[in-house]
Amino acid sequence: MAMNSTPSASGPAISLKSISRHYGAITAVDNVSLEIAAGGFVALVGLSGSGKSTLLKMINRLVDPSAGEVLIADENVEAFDPHVLRRRIGYVFQNIGLFPHMTIARNIAIGLELAGQKNGDRDGRQERVAELLELVELPQEMANRMPHQLSGGQQQRVGVARALATRPGLMLMDEPFGALDPVTRDSLAGQYKALHEKLGLTTIIVTHDMAEALYLADRILVMEDGQIKADATPAELLSGGVGDEAEALVAIPRAQAAHLIALGQTDGRKST
């Protein structure tokens, strides 16, 4: 599999072929087909319950599809044991899930530990931890701290570092910055976007925040009722004409922006 790529290489292409997922009578994902190019940064946007998170989890088999298949770099994910597959895919989610009983260094290196790097490779592991801390812009002395000693933003930086430790080509991110304060969220999102470019990753991010999607992704998929209702670049979305669902979601940041601009103008007039 081409997913174990070097930092400069491009992440894999993803192909979803008519995948569905049912929970009893409820259909979470309804016959979705999708091609994602290698190195793409795709945002899945939609309201709660639109099926975007389920769609994401079918890629690393945290959820198995009821029908259809998922290909990563032309290989069917069913061909791998779930744990083998997941070790080659970075996964970051809203609740972070750092292991509270392990140091930051061990949290970051856990993927390497699982991959069977024994104690003999400890120096190599330490080096990699230092490299990753630098990559996510955390000070080196964090390595020996415990997760509860870090702020939420710092913890999610560790979450990203942990996901990148095994040099995956593909990153799946499920509301990764959803629980952070707006300032931290904005700086972390910006830094991740830079990492995505630098490492040549393929990234799929799930978010309910259209502004975030518009800022980060080069392609935005709008989901509703388990189906993709719109598939467009940020520029296309903003210029309109890609469907009502997309329009409704874009309307919110647009209205907010207009409101802010209007406020600024009022203030400007006052101060002159």
Partner: protein, 515 residues
Amino acid sequence: MTEAWKQAFTRVPELLAAHVQLSFSALLLAMALCLPLAIWAARTPKVAAVILGFASLIQTIPALALLALFYPVLLGLSALLGGGISALGFLPALLALTLYALLPILRNAVTGLTGVAPAAKQAADGLGMTAAQKLRLVEAPLAAPTIMAGIRTAAVWTIGAATLSTTVGQASLGDLIFAGLQTQNWTLVLTGCFASAGLAIIVDLLLGLIERAIRERRKIIAWGATAVIGIGLAIALLPALGGRGDVVVIGAKGFSEQFILARLIGSRLEKAGYQVRYHDGLGSAVVFQAVAADDIDIYVDYSGTIWTNQMKRTDPVPADDMVREIAKWSASKYGVTMLGALGFENTYAFAVRPEDAASKQLKTLDDLARVSSDFAFGTDLEFLERPEWAMVKAAYPIEFKEARSFNPTFMYPALSSGEVDVISAFSSDGRIAANGFVVLEDGKGAVPSYEAMLLVAPRRSGDDKFVNAIKPLVGAITVENMREANYKVDRETDKQSPRQAARWLDEQLKDGKDQ
């Protein structure tokens, strides 16, 4: 006083070691059972409901009853498998305590495992951990403090409940408590209580320290406390590794006469070069099975008890014939040798206060029947269930106002204080004469004869040295001497230990021989 304490304390190390061995084994077995079950239960809620329900059900059974239940279960199992399973001593105690320790360990382990933060579990899955890696690296360490708390609770319960294992013939600190209760030796009772409570407190503190150290991730403290426990265990287990050699186990039921006779037999065997241990406090129903199964080597029983309890006979037979028939029956059916009668009888004797005997003109059981509707009856713990009581009721129209069961120790004070008006005393008990109680005659011979006799286990029957060491006791103990020896132990002041009374009794036998 100091002498009594010293005597009590000399028994503590050996019993403490046995107590630790038993509780620790039970705890270890319970942990080995519970942890896999808890992992299964934590993943399958239906399994959790069934397993926790079962463990809770066991917890509702009193510990003493649970211990008693294992005796017939193991006997049945042994019979089914063609023998070889000991229904007394370590095994039933171990199994009962293990069952008792299940609930706290299981409940805490399931709570701990299901309580692991979902985010940590999701991260473990997302990172590509296998189920085993997830358990080892994430779930187990995060559940460890809760699991440890359960083990700690179980340890304290087990150490407490282990004192009850005396009743199934397993040595423990309970031996001191039960023996002390029987002989009203409160020094012995207190020593047993303090030792077991002290053990429980120390273990609780150490396990608590480990629990806290795990919670706060302080490895040095956790390992330090574990090391202290390990050293304690090693000291307790050391004697078990030394090999027992040819140790004779002498059984005794739960009253003073039995303790004294066991010590008398023991001193004879020690002189013959045997190492001796005592299993005191065995129930009448259990003790015969124990000698038949070679769990104990020798004990003293009473002809009427074997006749009614074991042989299920109710026909009146002259005393000598009864002893002869018992000897034939026990040898042919169980390989148990009836070595001979000791020379005195300890039968059930209905005793009343002298004032009542005089004012109400009570001499016989017929007289008792006449006044029985006004009388409260005090008995030992088993008499009301025994066939002798049925035989007496069949022969005499006795209908008491009320009947109350006592530990034999408390039965005599209950009569003198007027709490009850008549008791089912033992004819060889020194407290009858000492209190001036009047024994009513059994004119119709309803109560069978109760000759004290020596019963020897099958594996010792062919041991001539053994048999020759004991043989001189046959026919050598008069009822007067036995009463006096019993009274030395049972009286309120200037009490002697069963061993001292046995020594005195032994001297009387020698005097008899010298004359």
